[in-house]
Structures are given as C-alpha cells and as structure tokens.
Amino acid sequence: MNPFTFIQPDDVDAALAALAAPGARPIAGGTNLLDLMKEGVMTPSGLVDINPLAAGGLDRIEEDGAGLRLGALARNADTAYHPLVRERYPLLSAAILAGASPQLRNMATNGGNLLQRTRCVYFYDVGTPCNKRAPGTGCPARAGINRQLAILGTSATCIATHPSDMCVALRALDATVHVRAAHGVRAIPFADFHRLPGDAPDVDTTLQPGELITHIALPDARRFAAHSAYVKVRDRLSYAFALVAVAAALDLADDGTIRAARVALGGVAHKPWRVEDAEDLLVGRPATESAFAAAAERILHGARGHGQNDFKLPLAHNAVIEALRAAARKEQRP
C-alpha cells in the first residue's frame, strides 16, 4: 500500500470536512478498498475512517413509515439477518447472503457495498491497460478474458460488470440512496445511482465528490414478500461472484394472475439491469413459463457476448425464467 494519512472524525460534518482534502477517501468495512490499495489500483493520499459515525446512528436499521431505512454503516450481515428485512424484504436478505463470505459480510457495510468496484481482471492488474483504472489506455477485456463480463449496456471503452448481489435486490425493490454533502442532502433513485460506462468508464456512480451516503431507503414492498427469489449462477456453489444473478418478485392474485412483477439482473452489466417494460409484459397474465420467457426475451433485448461470455445470453434467459418460476412457486422466508 502507498503511504497515506489516517483520521477518525467524530461526526458527519467532521468527516465531510476531512473528505474535502484532495485524494482523501472514506473507509468503512475496507473489504474492497484495502484490497485495491494492496494492488495499487487505488492510491488515496488519505483515509477518513467513518466507522465512528455509527455512534450518530448511521449503522441503524429502522422503520420509516411503511418502509425501512438501512444505515450506510450497518454491516451486510446485520442487514441480511435483521428481523424486519427477513420478514418484509426476503429478496434483499437472500441477495446479501448470496454474496461474499460470512467474514466479509460481517465487515462490509451497506454504503460500501454500493461503491465496490468491478472484479474485471484487467482493472485489478496494474500491468495491463484499462479504461476504468487508467482512462484512455484501452480495454483488453473485449478480446481477452471476459467470461465474467457484461453483455448489456456496454460501450466501446468498457465491458465491466458491477459485482454486487445486494444492489440487484435494491434495484428490484426501488430503493433510494440518501447522501449528504457540506451544502445539504440529496436522494438518488437506485436506477440513477450506478451508471453505464459510456465514454467515462472510470466513473462508476453518480455520487459526487464530497458526498457521503447516510442511508438507503426501501419503500413498502410487502406485496412482494411472499413470492420472491434470488437466483445466482456462479462457477462454484458458494463464495464466488455471479456469472448471472436474478432478483425476481411477484405479487400474485389468489387465482395466480400476476398483479405486479419485479425482475433485476446482476453479472450482466455495469449496473444492476432492470427493464420495467418487461415487468409490464407480465402484469395481468398467469404465472406461466411462456409469460416468463417473454419477459426474459424483453429484458435481454440487445444483449451481446464478447466471446468467452457468449454463454451468458442463454444462461441469463434461463435464469430469469428459473427465478420467476421459483418466486411464483414458493412463499420464501430466508
């Protein structure tokens, strides 16, 4: 790791003041940032340890009207196992528990989960070009090792995927990211939080310099609680990033007709991928394979492989159907 300064502010204002220094970055769980610093991928000149901000309530999980408020500093494990999350947002609980390992989930925070970087091997290897790490140097992944990488929303400069499982569920559940800066607060709809690479693949999110995530707000989603599923396909049974992941939730009428549907995909794009039009295709139809297949086709419209990841096209199609089938089938309580 490069040498860096270290401070532990007592409150959000002090943290924001410290983060105004050039090259300063916040650290919470540290599970991704320290890994990247060891590789020389990220080289902050100063770390601002925001863990002490938990004393101000930033690690709380609490009811917020009919919804839930997830503190930015709440650990992933505490979020996944929280009784209210399990009861009202089993999809979120399942998605978090599908990611990383128990040790990492004990360390990683909700805010940090949103800000983790891609695991593209070229991004991690400072000996290779990478437009995300070093803008303008090129993208060897297009014609190289791209088994893990994107099939949707790519650009000429980058085919990286966002690695989070939690974020796929948050996208499906219409979460909002609340941030604070020296000049005030702002709420960012989850759909707008992560961005597509376009011609600036070095920019992962719309979080601005000087902004700190305070909490994530979840709207009431109890209509989906009985029928949701997180299907994650990966190279080993546990503790691996998704090749394709699908968060699916259904609101079913007594006669089995779909009243509302949510489907979001991970492992396929630079951000969690959701196509609301595809969900509309399901509304008013019975929960059948043909309805699911039509939705899958719509979601994956325009998908394109890059060689090693061509298999993701049929895999994603089948995973969408499997996730919707699982959601329709069972009352899921993780």
Binding site: M1, N2, P3, F4, T5, F6, I7, Q8, I27, G29, G30, T31, L34, D35, M37, K38, S45, G46, L47, D49, N51, A77, Y81, A100, S101, P102, Q103, L104, N106, M107, L237, S238, Y239
Partner: protein, 159 residues
Amino acid sequence: MDVHRQYPIRLRINGQERAFEVESWVTLLDLLRERAGLTGTKKGCDHGQCGACTVLLDGRRINACLTLAVMQDGHELTTIEGLADGADLHPLQQAFIDHDAFQCGYCTPGQICSAAGLIAEGQARTAADVRELMSGNICRCGAYPQIARAVGAVLGIAP
C-alpha cells in the same frame, strides 16, 4: 499531515491489554504476526479470498487482512491462541483432532476461528448450512468433509 507518522493504538488481544505504535497502512493481520508475536493467525492470500487470517473482532469473525490496525483501536480480539482455556482445548479444537479435520494445517486456525464465529452467529441449522457458512475458508488439502463434520459435531448437527 505526515504520511509516515506512527499511530498509538490499544487492543485487548486474548484478554490482554496491548499497546502498539503503528503506521497507517499496517493491517490487523500484519500487526498480529509481526508486532504482537501471535503467528497462529495465518496469511494465505492477503486479499480476503481464503479465510486463513480469520479472527474474532468483538466476538465476530472477520478477515484480519482486510482491516487496518489503526481502525481497531480500543477493540477486542480473539485469535486461535486465545480459544483454549489453559490446557483445556476449545471444543472446536478437540473436534478438529477427533475428526481429522486437517492435513497440512495451514488453514486450520482460520477454520477454527471461523467456526467459533459461526456458532456465535447461531444461523446454522443443518449440515448444508454449516458448509455454506464455512465457505469463507478455503482448504487446499481438501479436508472439507472432515471440517464440516467437526463443526457439525460441536453444534450437535448430524452429518
């Protein structure tokens, strides 16, 4: 601010108050091995992918390689050296012997600390749960069946 400055920190390690002066970039793992003289905690990958460095921080299992020592000032740590009660082995240590749950032994301190964390979390109900919730610990010798049986035995879960 001087990037090379030393930060004074205090940690309670295996029940003992310890004080250190460390640079900002010293990981908790390196502090344990290089400065505290506790080499039971192993460095495998140093990237949070293998679990060999698993310790209990305030009773919760974490990867010591992915946190900075300065971030843990004032906290309490339990390492493999702190699990036994004097000459009496921790039940997990005894179970690993009884079930032959290692070959080279390099991953074992991390496996046992991870299992102690798993038991404290109270989420494992079945043998499948044990395997899933031990997935953060890699064993290159492939002693997984024995490890899962040893942890299950302490939990009273049938294989």
